[in-house]
Amino acid sequence: MFKKILVANRSEIAVRVMNACRVLGIPSVAVYSDADENAKHRHYADEAVHIGPPPPRESYLDIDKIIAAAKETGCDAIHPGYGFLAENPLLPRRCAAEGIAFIGPSPEAMNLMGNKVESRIKMTEAGIPLVPGMKSSSKDPAVFRKAADKAGYPVMIKAAAGGGGKGMRIVHKADELDAALEAAQREALNAFNDDTVYLEKYIASPRHIEFQVIADSHGNAVHLFERECSIQRRHQKIIEETPSVALTPELRARMGADAVKVAQAADYVNAGTVEFLFDPDGNYYFLEMNTRIQVEHPITEMVTGIDLVVEQIRVAAGLPLSFTQEQLNQRGHAIECRLYAEDGDNNFMPSTGKILHYSEPSGPGIRVDSGVMQGGQITIDYDPIMAKLIVHAPDRATCINKTIDAIHDYKILGVKTSRDFMVDVLRHPDFVHGNTFTDFIEKHMGDRDSNPAKYRDLAAAVATAAAMSAPGAVSSASSGNGVVDGATPWQTIGPWQIGDSISAKA
């Protein structure tokens, strides 16, 4: 097993990986930019190395600096998390040259899957169903126009190096194609340093259903069932759940077997995710394979009981999988809500600022993977994901209610989040009935009215009490001296009297 692991990432996923290192008894090393001098991932690690200024290209994306940090601290392995260098084959290549283990797939498998065009060809050969579209990329808008006409509008432009909705555009009409192509290329260049995009038919109202897979270097490959990630805005997942209400046991077995086939076709060794589009008629199409640990991996951990990051590290160290396909089963239901620093009431506009108050929910079946702390700054430098709330319950209905309760108990002030938006999604009759398609938000949330005014009078009462209460009882931006607290509301609940003398009255 590895002696020391460098985590080449930041925020919640860096903390999550370091937690797996702790479980395995392996010291971890953080890297951090100037913007993350006080970030949680830096302080959570056993050691930390400064790697440059805030722009990712000069720090988290700089392979030379990552390798230097690993060598300086004596690390024999690097975990890339997700995003940043996680799907850049240059990192595993460089690791191999430096004699450092890379906790991820081979550069060849990464190359194949990272390029959506090449992977489509390979998967067609392997007999996996695919969405019709371009067989190869092009710089020529005319090629895109032709491919779009052939597949039929609507079509979708996607970054070859893509993920997370970046460099992605739906085009409904031919005269929108050129502008969308240009925007997608620009975004792709910024996000991935590669403006290669391609085009495929856009399936209206599908579900996004993906399968978690993991394969070791001894020829074992298994799937850990599905995650449904249909609740997306701007092609970015915000609520994920497992199991999917849409799958029968037969369909689950068939898609799972296809997911394993995808991994095997790529000679894949690592945890990975095979994404499918699932159309309303029950057909499914291979979309892409993500060759990294996924943002939404915790819901799979909740229902399978497997620690995916621990297993990923074990597999990278050459150990065989510690379970077989037959030993895996799904238990209960799990939902993940992504807490982005964004305004759920205003078109998900990113929000920056200082976290004035932060407290997490807790209790049986509630897990929070977070990368932020009270007093921390949310800056414009990085992806706005702050934390993930993961809730596990015996059944879907209980899980939905428990998730809403947990969102209510999750207090974040100073930076906007889409907590209220997510509660409205979770309460929507179509969500409750499992009518979850990728156009859910567009279709059902467009005319949403957040109306916080219903709390107007109570909020004024709370503000009054806050103003009157003893100094120190209210956290204040000006008191932020780096001493923080992140107590969970119900863990810390203090003196409270009720009864005849004092209670709520309307």
Binding site: H357, M422, A453, A460, T492
Partner: protein, 165 residues
């Protein structure tokens, strides 16, 4: 009995409060609320008969209050007319600000153009995302203060409108 005044959504709210034991009994209009501090920044009270924990924090002239999944921003009336925050908070619908610091990647209107409420007028790139900025009312573009490629903050309007009546 203490009196307090807050501004929410352009309206003044008057409160009066007294301490009862460890809690505060606050009168807002004809409603009475009991609010009890339970931890730094956290208070217990009731919503629809169930006990809930609410959060409160202050920054400059603004008190943030988190109730269930909502966060309300209340301003001190003394600060700056009513609104007390950046332009966007003040309800100035004729000025269009960036919601956060970033780079203007696209200006989608020119001086003299008429725009409709919710029309996208500018795209600002921040946090690796392209964020459309919308007009808040119908009007005509009076001034554009930045060019594509410029860095903008949240205090200076990018576009100014002559609002329709």
């Amino acid at each position: 009995m203490q009196k307090h005044e807050f501004v929410f959504d352009g309206e003044i709210i008057d409160t009066s409060a007294e301490k009862v034991g460890e809690a505060y009994r606050v009168q807002v209009g004809d409603k009475s609320f009991d609010i009890r501090p339970v931890a730094p920044g956290l208070f217990a009270t009731f919503v629809d008969g169930r006990k809930v924990i609410v959060a409160s924090a202050r920054d400059h002239d603004t008190t943030y209050v988190g109730i269930e999944a909502a966060v309300l921003e209340l301003s001190d009336p003394s600060s700056d007319g009513f609104g007390g925050g950046a332009g966007d908070q003040a309800g100035e619908k004729d000025k269009i600000y960036a919601p956060m610091p970033g780079k203007i990647v696209k200006l989608m209107v020119a001086v003299g153009d008429t725009v409709a409420e919710k029309q996208h007028v500018v795209i600002v790139e921040a946090m690796k995302m392209e964020n459309p900025v919308l007009a808040k009312a119908n009007g005509t573009v009076k001034a554009i203060n930045f060019a594509e490629g410029d860095q903008v903050d949240t205090d200076h309007p990018i576009v100014e409108l002559e609002l329709d009546e």
